[in-house]
C-alpha cells in the first residue's frame, strides 16, 4: 500500500510536471515560472458604470473599478479578475471568449442588482458591467500606482445590451494607435503573452482568501 501511495504521488505530480498541465490536487506549480522581461503590466479589471450624483457634473454616469467583494460575495477583486481572465483568454478574439465574458458580466450585473434591491449592499445602481484592461509601466520603486491607461474591452448593460468595445476599436482604428502604445518597440518575433494567470498567484496573496 505504501509503495502504491508513493507511486500515486510521484506519478501524479510527475505527469503534471511532464505535461505542464494542472490536475488538482496535483500541479506543476507554474507560479512565477515565466520570465518577465517587459516592464509593462497589463491586468484585466471589472468596472461598473454607475450614475454620477456629483452636483454640477457634466457626465450623468461615471466608471468605477469594482474592488469590494461585498457586492457579490465571495467574488472579491482578485477572484472576479481571475474569472474574467479565464473567460477572456489571451485577447478575447474568439466567439467563445466573447460569449463567456458576456455571461460573466451579465450574471455579475444581475447578482449585483438583485442583492442591491434586497439591500444586501449599499452600492449605487449598476448601469453597465464593463471589462477593462489596465496598463502600467513598471517603475523602479513601484511609484505611481495609477494605471497609465484603462481600455474598455466589453460591456453588458442593465437592459441586456452587449457592447464589444474592443472589436469596435479594432474595426475603427485598424492599425492601432491606442492600447499597447506603451511598448515603444514591440519585438515582432516575440511570442504572444502567456495566459494571464500563469504568473498570478495573487489569490493566495490575500490572507484569508483561501
Amino acid at each position: 500500500m505504501v509503495a502504491l501511495l508513493a507511486l500515486f504521488i510521484v506519478a501524479g505530480h510527475g505527469y503534471d510536471i511532464w505535461q505542464q498541465r494542472e490536475h488538482w490536487p496535483f500541479s506543476f506549480y507554474p507560479m512565477y515560472g515565466r520570465v518577465q522581461k517587459r516592464r509593462t503590466l497589463q491586468i484585466l479589471a471589472l468596472y461598473a458604470i454607475v450614475p454620477n450624483d456629483t452636483p454640477g457634473a457634466k457626465k450623468k454616469w461615471q466608471m468605477v473599478r469594482v474592488t469590494d467583494g461585498k457586492y457579490v460575495p465571495p467574488l472579491n477583486e482578485v477572484r472576479i479578475r481571475n474569472i474574467l481572465m479565464a473567460a477572456w483568454g489571451r485577447d478575447g478574439a474568439t466567439g467563445r471568449a466573447q460569449r463567456a465574458t458576456e455571461a460573466v458580466l451579465r450574471d455579475y450585473l444581475n447578482l449585483y442588482e438583485a442583492r442591491r434591491l434586497k439591500q444586501l449592499h449599499d452600492g449605487p445602481p449598476m448601469l453597465e458591467a464593463r471589462l477593462c484592461r489596465m496598463t502600467w509601466r513598471v517603475r523602479n520603486g513601484a511609484t505611481r500606482q495609477k494605471p497609465e491607461s484603462v481600455e474598455s474591452l466589453m460591456g453588458v448593460r442593465a437592459d441586456g445590451k452587449v457592447i464589444p468595445y474592443a472589436r469596435r476599436a479594432a474595426a475603427t482604428m485598424a492599425a492601432s494607435t491606442q492600447p499597447d502604445a506603451l511598448d515603444a518597440a514591440p519585438d515582432p518575433n516575440e511570442k504572444p503573452p502567456p495566459p494571464p494567470d500563469d504568473n498570478d498567484e495573487s489569490d493566495d496573496a490575500a490572507p484569508n482568501n483561501g
Binding site: 482578485v78 477572484r79 455579475y108 494605471p147 495573487s202 490572507p207
Partner: protein
Amino acid sequence: MMQHQTTVESSLRRFWFGPQGAETLGFARLVFFALMIWFYFPLDYAPWGGLTPAFANRPLFAFRILHLPIVSETTLGILQFVWRASLVTACIGLFTRTSVIVAALLGFYVLGVQGNFGKVGHGEGILILAMCILALSRCGDAWSIDSLIRAFRSRDPIGQRNRPISGEYRWPIRMIWLLMSMIFLGAGITKLRWSGLDWITTDNLSTTILSHYYNQPVGNEWKSTIGIWIANHRTLCKVVAGLTILIEIGFPLAMFSRWARAVLVPSAFLAQVGIYVMMGVAFTQFMFVYVFWIPWDTLGRFVRRIAQRRGKYEMLYDGGCGLCKGVASVVVRLDVFGRVEPMDVVHRWKEIAARHPNLTREQCLTDMHVVRPDGVAVSRFIAYRNLAWALPVCWPILPLLYIPPIPSIADRIYQYVATHRHDAGCEIA
C-alpha cells in the same frame, strides 16, 4: 549483484519503515489540524454554491471526471459544517481514522469548489494529499482522545510508559516529505523549462517583485521597503533567483540526507517567508505541512529533560480497583513530561512504606494520594489538582481549580465516585 539488491531493499525498508515512536506523527497531526482550524474556520465557502455556472468557467479536472456538481449554497454550508467538525475531531484525535477520512474527502470537495471559479489555488492541493496520507496512517495512536480511551480501557498505568514503536509511524511522515519534494521539484523544473537560465540571469525577479506592487487587491495593498530595495539591486536579485532554483531542484535531497534536511527545509521555509515579505504573497496553508519535518520526539526529549529537573510526583493508586487503574493510566498517558510516577498501593506497598513512613496502607487504599516533589503528601481532589501542575493539557483549567466553590464541589464529586467505585467493577474492596 544479489547483495547490492539486498542493500538497496534494506535501505528502502529502513527509509520507509524504520522503527519510530507514535509521538511525532501524533503530535504533527494535532498541530496540522489545529492550524487548519485556525485558518479555515473564519472562511465561509458556502457562498460559492450561490454563484451561477457562468462564473465556474475553469472546471477542475477532478470535478469534471467525477461529474461533481457545484451544489447549492445550503448544501455546501452543510458539507462545510461537517468538514469543520471532522477537522476538530481529527485534531483532538477522536475517532481519528474516520475523522481524517471525512476531513480528506469533504476537504477535497469544499476546498476544491472555489478552484472551478477562474483559478485553482495551489495552497489546498498539498493539504488534501497530506490528509489522504494521514487517513491511511495510524496517526491517532498518540496525542489523541482515542489513545486516552485505549489507555483507560487497558487499566495498565505502568504499561503506558512503554509507548509503541513501529514503522507504521514513519512512512506517513516520509510520504509527506516525498509529496513536498515533488512540489518543490515541480516548481523548479517548470521555471527552467519555461524560462531556462533567463529566470536567473535576466532582470526577471526584479521586474516580478516590482510588478507585484501594481497587481494587488484594493484595500489589501502590500508594499515592502525590503522588496523594493532588493528589486533595485539587480545582482542581488540574480543571486536570490539562483538560490531559489537551487533550493527547489535540490529539495528532494532533504528526504535522504540529514545535512540536506537541516539546510534545505529551513531555506525553503525562509524563501516562502521572503516571498511574503517582498511581495505580500502568503503561502500560509502550504506552510502547515512543514510541521511534518519537525523532529518532535527530539524536541520532546529536550523539554522533558528540563521539566524533570523540577522533580517528580508520585501517584499512589489502588491497584486492585479497575476505575483507579484506568484513571491512573490516563494520567500517565497525559504525562508528556514524564513527571508522574505511578505507584500501585496493593502490589508495591513495601516500597511506598519505605519511602513514605507517615502514610498508611488503609489511607492510600481509601483515597488517591499524590506525593509532591517537595515530599508533601496530598489526597482526594487536592491530589488531582497537584497532578494538574504536571500535565500540560490541564494547564488551561488549572486556575479554575482554585476558585471557590469549585474545590469543595469537586471534592464532593471525588468522594461520591470513590465510595461508589467498588460498585463499578473494582476487583477488591
